[in-house]
């Protein structure tokens, strides 16, 4: 019997609470320790930040690189994917900028609305590639500058509401990140046009990218916020980028994230940390393509009462891609509402993972939490792992989750085919509908159509094979 089939009771999937795991360090972990020790000169920031970095790295040393024995990384073996620790990416030079300029231009050309675009290239904010004009109520500070100047926003971005502190990838990011961009939306400001961060890697050399960005929204602020992850080259890269979204009271953030396909050699960990004050509203819709190893993790906490959080996503995977979406939703205040809806389409030998954990503290009465994960497997070799978790300590709540997994419904397929539509087209139509279900929720039509076009393009590629 393979370990897969053996009794879970026997399988050590432990995350021992409070226990120190004795980790045998592998080469990558040793290299990371050396890298940290040797890079201290690069770590700008106040003494307080320096202290945070040391503490974060100590935390990482204790935890080690996440592997299957760590419950929250049960299906994604980061330790296995890190054969070594790649060197930190160098500051992008003119050549690097030139190499990606065309990509940025292409994005601009495809814009259907005015967008304030901020480019983070190899983990460093690029003024030259970014929009020069900023709308009123918006303040943009490169993380690096904020760190050097000791700006309060840097401290906030690194503290990030103490979210995800038990996660080794977040700890690594906290220890190494020096770049990124911090966006502040003034209290009461309504930003008309969307603000977009493009996380781009030049892929000119094998390197590691750590960046920390933040979107800090003041009370009553309203903003549409796009996030796009791109890779330019084919070199192996290790990306670990963290974004902190802090919502003030009654603020509204509509977030749309697209993570484009990355090479097989790419290891991409994107963390979003979300803190919500009373009556804040956060909706996030993501379209995620595969990579060699991709992990998107969202740690969200509703600190104030009556906050509303809705996370939705579509995952499109093929080849032998691996994509992991992990969500931890903490209800600590009463009367909050959370929704998670994720649809995956998995083709070929790809692996899709959805882990969602909703926790409800004893004081978070009247919580309303619903989670749904659905997947369609298109090929023999495809796999989907669902782990929707509930952890509830309050009695007056309505919480539920659902998870389904299966192939395309034969009846539906037959219905469409019986209308004279060829099989391949019929499949594409049904799959488009499946993805569209989630993306339809995006209020802005132009944004939604743009994402649907990307879905169609992916489906068309499938038809070509």
């Amino acid at each position: 019997m393979s370990p897969q089939q053996s009794e879970g009771a026997a399988r050590p999937v432990a995350e021992p609470v409070g226990a120190v795991i004795s980790v045998l360090r592998n080469d990558a972990e040793k290299a990371l320790a050396d890298l940290f020790a040797n890079s201290r000169a690069l770590f700008v920031g106040s003494a307080e930040i320096a202290q945070r970095r040391e503490a974060a790295f100590a935390r990482f040393s204790r935890l080690g690189l996440p592997n299957r024995r760590v419950e929250s990384w049960h299906y994604t073996d980061l330790r296995g994917a890190f054969k070594s620790a790649l060197p930190l990416a160098a500051m992008p030079d003119a050549q690097a900028r030139a190499s990606v300029r065309a990509r940025i231009e292409a994005l601009r050309a495809a814009d259907t609305q005015a967008v304030t675009r901020l480019v983070v290239l190899d983990g460093v904010f690029e003024v030259e590639l970014s929009s020069s004009h900023l709308p009123e109520g918006l303040r943009v500070t490169p993380t690096c500058n904020a760190l050097i100047a000791g700006d309060a926003c840097a401290a906030r971005a690194f503290a990030a509401g103490d979210l995800g502190q038990g996660d080794a990838a977040v700890a690594l990011n906290e220890a190494f990140a020096t770049g990124g961009v911090i966006i502040e939306v003034a209290a009461g400001a309504m930003i008309d046009h969307p603000v977009e961060i493009v996380f781009l890697s030049s892929g000119r050399a094998a390197h590691a990218i750590y960046s920390r960005s933040a979107l800090l929204v003041g009370d009553g602020g309203v903003v549409r916020f796009f996030e796009r992850r791109l890779t330019h080259g084919q070199q192996p890269i290790q990306r670990n980028e963290t974004l902190f979204v802090d919502l003030g009271q009654k603020s509204i953030v509509r977030h749309v994230a697209v993570a484009e396909h990355e090479a097989k050699s790419a290891v991409d960990v994107a963390t979003t940390l979300v803190c919500m004050a009373a009556d804040a509203e956060f909706t996030s819709t993501s379209l995620q393509f595969g990579a060699g190893l991709r992990r998107r993790q969202i740690f969200a906490r509703m600190d104030g009462p009556h906050a509303r959080c809705s996370l939705r996503g579509v995952g499109l995977l093929r080849g032998d891609e691996h994509s992991d979406t992990t969500i931890v939703m903490e209800h600590v205040a009463p009367g909050c509402e959370s929704r998670e809806t994720f649809n995956h389409i998995v083709d070929n030998d790809a692996t899709g993972i959805f882990q969602g954990k909703v926790t409800v503290a004893a004081q978070a009465q009247k919580t309303d939490g619903k989670m749904k994960s659905r997947a369609i497997l298109l090929a023999e070799g495809a796999a989907m792992y669902n782990k929707p978790e509930l952890e509830i300590f309050a009695d007056d709540v309505t919480c539920g989750h659902g998870a389904t997994c299966g192939s395309l419904d034969d009846n539906q397929l037959f219905y469409v085919q019986s209308r004279g539509i060829p099989k391949a087209e019929a499949e594409a139509l049904l799959l488009e509908g499946f993805a569209g279900e989630v993306l339809d929720e995006i209020g802005n039509e132009q944004t939604r159509d743009a994402l649907m076009d990307e879905v169609r393009a992916w489906l068309a590629q499938r038809g070509q094979k």
Binding site: E7, A14, E389, F393, G406
Partner: protein, 491 residues
Amino acid sequence: MAAVQETVDKVKSIDVDAYKYGFVTDIESERSAKGLSEETVRFISAKKNEPAWLTEWRLDAYRRWTTMREPNWARVHYPKIEYQDLYYYAAPKSAAGPKSLDEVDPELLRTYEKLGIPLREREILAGVQGAGTRVAVDAVFDSVSVATTFKAELAKAGVIFCPISEAVHSHPELVQKYLGSVVPVTDNYFATLNSAVFSDGSFVYIPPGVRCPMELSTYFRINEQNTGQFERTLIIADKGSYVSYLEGCTAPKRDENQLHAAVVELVTLDDAEIKYSTVQNWYPGDSEGRGGIYNFVTKRGDCRGARSKISWTQVETGSAITWKYPSCILRGDESRGEFYSIAISNGHQQVDSGTKMLHLGRNTSSRIISKGISAGQSNNTYRGQVFAHRKASGARNFTNCDSLLIGNRCGAHTVPYVESRNSSAQFEHEATTSKISDDQLFYCMQRGLSAEEATALIVNGFVRDVLQQLPMEFAVEAQKLISVSLEGSVG
């Protein structure tokens, strides 16, 4: 007057410590030396007069166990267990094995009478007990089986139902073939411990094409202080056979915790079916969380044959800690696994229970219905895995776990793993958590029910799907048990 008496009785019965099986039987017993070592293992093996292969098997398990670490992934917390402070074998003292019930210590028989378990066949035949349904019983007291009823009649049908210690001698070929074939010696910490020191339990073999003429049942009772109970049950349903098996357990009230680490193995061959029902009512500890049984059990069924079926039904109301995941390995094509569970926790109880459905064969199907109810300061976790192997095309699973919270000092958790590696496998999972709504309570109370009665009524409705799966006489008992378990949880 009668009405007054009824009220008095009712009030009396609603005690906070409503555990009615908490008495201790004063009986002379024989124990192994304290602690666990190769000597203890050899002692137990010698006591049972076992063949050499089994002694070796036990020793091998013991050696493995010394290298293993106690699992800590479950959501249960307890002080470290001092395995060397336990007695691994305790048996009521009697000269050799009793030939008939008349030789059994009368004190012991009274114990079972107090528990309402009939060991005397004639009583049942005379219709004294119950509704006249006949159930064959194997009674296990601490480490040994004291009596098995209806043996003769079962033998006529070809059914073997006897203590496993006896089966080792009378049917060594079956035991050697199947023992440890579902739960391997090295499976997990507690199963390995059990393999080393298992004392007694039931052995059932149903020959091909036989439908077992009556329900089989085992009652486990831990009596001695500081002893662990490590029973091992092995049930084999040969081709085309059917058996329904019931299991019940109780223990006296004691201040310290007692360990219970059992292993149950089920094997079904082609077209066979096993229905395994448990009403687990070990002592849960007092209202302060002192004492109670640590129930660390490995239960697994192997649907080895095509079109075979294993169905687990459990009502979990007792134990300080429950760590139990009755599972099905769906190896045969078109085999089916079912899991119906009610887990009730009150006081300081901790439950971490669920199931695993491992789909390996083609067109296998499984169904999981789990109802968790937490009250008091307890924690109740459903942890389950549904897995489809690459080759398990056409696998189907439906899972439904509902949790009910009573009071705001308890917790209800759901941790499902839904793993599909086959595109034609169809898995559905749903879970909800809610509380008993005030509207429901108000409605019932308005009709003259007390808050507790109303709660029991609503809870009984909540768990009805599972209760229906229980054999009749168990369903009635379970229903009563649910009311008792929830006493003191409202108001």
